[in-house]
Amino acid sequence: MIATASALLSPQVLKEARQRERRVAWQQTRIAWLFIAPAVLMVTLFLLTPVVFNVILSFTKWQKFTGLDQFAGFNNYARLFRLPYFSEALANTAVWVVGAVVFPLAVGLGLALLLRNIPFQETFKSLFFLPRVLAPTAVAAIWYYVYAPRGVLNSAVSGITGTPFDFGWLYDPATITGSVIVTFVWQTVGITMVLLLLGLAAIPKDPIEAARVDGASNFQIFRHIVWPLLLPTVLVVTILNVAAGFTTFDLLWVMATSFPGKRTLSLAVYMYYESFSNGAWAYGSAVAVVLGAMVITVSALLAVVQARVSKNIR
C-alpha cells in the first residue's frame, strides 16, 4: 500500500501545520522567559544601569561636590594621557594581565600534569585549592607579613645567608608588582589547576595512545596532542585570569598599604583613588570606562578564539 501525499500537502495544510508548530514553540519558551525575567531585571538594574551612569559621568565635570550638571566633552579622557599616574597604572596593569595569565597557567598546568596520576591526589588538590577559599584581604594580610622588612621571607634569606637582610619588597617600585603577583598566583593556582585537571580528564585517552604508537615521545604527545586538545580549557582559564589581572584591587589595596605609589599599581586602584579619595568622580569614571573597555575587548577576543578552537577539536 503506497500513500499518495500530493493532495494532502496543500499550501493551506502546510500553513496551518507551521502555525501549530510555532504556537507550541512559543508556549514552551514563554515559561523560559518567565524564569529568566528576574535575572534580566537584576542585571539591568544593578549592572547595566550603573555602567550607563558611569559612562555618562565620564563626560561631566563632576569633582568633589560640584559639576555633575556640566558637560566636559572628552576632557576627562584627554587628561588620562596628560597626567603621569594613568600611564604608570596602565603599564603596571599590563604587567598584571600578563603575569596573572602566564604564571597561574604555567604553574597550574605543571601541577595538574604532576598530580594527574599520583596517590593522595585529592589531598594535594585540596591543599593547593585552600588559598582560594580565603578572602583576598585575608590572603593579602598574611602575605603582607611574609614580605615585611622583618617578615618571613627576609628572615629566611638572613638565615640562609647569615647576613642581616631587610629588603622592602612592598616598598620598592621595582619589586612590589612582582611580589603581589606571586601572592595572586599562590591564591589562583588552585582553581586554575582544578580547571585544567577537569580539562585533562575530558581529553580522550585514545588519541594519546594512538600518538604513542605513532612514535611520539611524552613531550611530543603533550605538544601535539594534549596541548591542542586542552586549549579550550586553557582559554577559559585565561579569560578568567585576564579579567582578574585587569581589575586587580584587593590584594594591592591591602599589601601596598604603605607604598607611596600605591595609586599607580593598577588602573583599578588608580580609579578608586581618583574617585573616592580625590573626589575626581568624572575623571575616575573615565578611568573606569577605559578599563572596562579594555577588559571587554580582550575578553571578547579571547572568547571568539575559544569558541573557534573548541569547534576545531570537536
Binding site: 595512545e209 604513542r212 604508537v213 611520539a216 591542542p228
Partner: protein, 362 residues
C-alpha cells in the same frame, strides 16, 4: 614484515590476574584474530604487544627481538583503535602524516606514503577535512591509513569494526582482508564477533578467562572445537548441548535417543559414562528440508517459536527438558506449536568429556 612470539605472558592488575599465561606464535604475513567474550583478555594482549600495557611476566618478541621494555615507538607496530582515535584537531592529511613528521621522515617521503595510502583507501577527496566532518566509515579508513603509512612490521587492530553499521562493517572487513593480502602484512586483530574472526583470520586464537582456549584455522576451530567453550562460542546460534551418556556400540544416549556416531571419530570412554553431546543447529534437520542424514536419530518435537531469517528459519523446541535450536533450510510457514519431525546428523555431532570439558574427537 615480522613474526610475533608470546611466551608465558601474564598480566596482573593489583590482585586481579587478567592474563594467566599465554603462549602464541604468529608467523610472518599471517592474519591472526584474537576472539573471545568481553573480559577474556584479548584487548589486554593486543595492548601489551603495542606497548600500551606493561608485561607482568613472560617474554614478548617481535622478529625474534625481545621488546618487553621497548617503548611503543621502537617496536615497529601500528595500531587501529576501536574509536578510531583520530587526532580531532588535525586534518586527514595531518592525521596520516603525524607519526612520520615527528619521526623526522623527509617531507617528500611523507607525501609519497600519504599519497599511496590515500589512493589505496580512497581518501583523496577528504584530505583537508577534520575527523568531525567525516562519516564513521571514512574515519575508519583514515585510521587504517594512519597505520599503513608507518609501514610497520605488525598491524594491530582493536575491534576496529564495532562502531560501524552492519553494511559498512561487511565492506570494511573485506577491505581490510584485501589490504592485508596486498601488503602481505602480519596482522593481529581483536574482536568479540566470531563471524569477523572466521571471515578474516588465517589463524584464530580463542581466548577465555585469560587463557588460550584453542588456536587454529577458522575451519579447525569450527569443525573441531577443542572444548565446550570453543564449541559454544564459535557459531551462531550456539551449539546445542545435551546431557548424555555413552551408549552401547558407537552410540550416545541423550534425551531418550540413541544417536549413532561414526566408529573412528571419537575416543569414547566406557558405556554408561556421563558426557555432553554437542549438536549444531544445522545438524538437527527438519524432515523434508535438506538432505536426510544417513547416520542419525529421529525425534518429534513441538516447535514453540520460529524465527524467520528469510533464507532459513531457526526453530525453537524442547528435547529431553533442554531448549534446542534447529536450522530449517528453504523454510515454510509453521502453525503455532506444530509438531515437526527432526533427524540428528550423527556424523557431525560432538562429544565432550564432562570433567575436562575437552572434546573426545580423535
Amino acid at each position: 614484515m615480522a613474526t610475533v612470539t608470546l611466551r608465558d605472558i601474564i598480566k596482573i592488575y593489583g590482585e586481579f590476574v587478567a592474563i594467566k599465561g599465554v603462549d602464541l606464535d604468529i608467523e610472518d604475513g599471517t592474519f591472526v584474530v584474537l576472539v573471545g567474550p568481553s573480559g577474556c583478555g584479548k584487548s589486554t594482549i593486543l595492548r601489551m604487544i603495542a606497548g600500551l600495557e606493561t608485561i607482568s611476566h613472560g617474554e614478548l618478541k617481535i622478529d625474534g627481538k625481545l621488546v618487553n621494555d621497548l617503548p611503543s615507538r621502537d617496536r615497529g607496530i601500528s595500531m587501529v583503535f576501536q574509536s578510531y582515535a583520530l587526532y580531532p584537531h588535525m586534518s586527514v592529511s595531518d592525521n596520516l602524516g603525524f607519526g612520520l613528521r615527528i619521526s623526522g621522515v623527509p617531507k617528500v617521503e611523507i607525501a609519497r606514503r600519504r599519497g599511496e595510502a590515500a589512493k589505496m583507501l580512497g581518501l583523496d577527496p577528504y584530505m583537508d577535512r577534520r575527523p568531525s566532518q567525516l562519516s564513521g566509515g571514512q574515519r575508519q579508513r583514515v585510521a587504517i591509513g594512519r597505520a599503513m603509512v608507518r609501514e610497520p612490521k605488525v598491524f594491530l587492530f582493536d575491534e576496529p569494526l564495532s562502531n560501524l553499521d552492519a553494511k559498512l562493517r561487511n565492506q570494511t572487513r573485506i577491505e581490510i582482508k584485501r589490504l592485508q593480502r596486498q601488503l602481505g602484512a602480519t596482522v593481529v586483530f581483536v574482536t568479540h564477533d566470531q563471524v569477523e574472526a572466521m571471515t578474516l583470520a588465517d589463524k584464530i586464537v580463542v581466548l577465555n578467562d585469560g587463557r588460550v582456549a584453542q588456536i587454529g584455522t577458522p575451519l579447525e576451530v569450527f569443525e573441531r572445537p577443542a572444548n565446550i567453550f570453543v564449541a559454544g562460542f564459535m557459531g551462531a546460534p550456539s551449539m546445542n548441548m545435551l546431557k548424555a551418556e555413552v551408549g552401547p556400540g558407537n552410540t550416545i544416549r541423550a534425551a531418550g535417543l540413541n544417536v549413532p556416531v561414526p566408529a573412528d571419530r571419537f575416543k569414547l570412554p566406557a558405556a554408561g559414562t556421563a558426557v555432553t553431546l554437542g549438536i549444531r543447529p544445522e545438524d538437527i534437520v527438519p524432515e523434508g528440508h535438506g538432505t536426510r542424514p544417513e547416520l542419525g536419530a529421529d525425534f518429534s518435537a513441538e516447535v514453540s517459536f520460529a524465527e524467520m531469517l528469510g533464507n532459513e528459519s531457526l526453530l525453537f523446541a524442547e528435547l529431553g527438558g533442554t531448549e534446542i535450536v534447529a536450522r530449517m533450510q528453504h523454510p515454510r510457514a509453521l502453525e503455532p506449536n506444530q509438531q515437526v519431525r527432526f533427524r540428528i546428523d550423527g556424523a557431525r555431532v560432538h562429544v565432550f568429556d564432562n570433567e575436562s570439558q575437552n572434546s573426545l574427537l580423535r
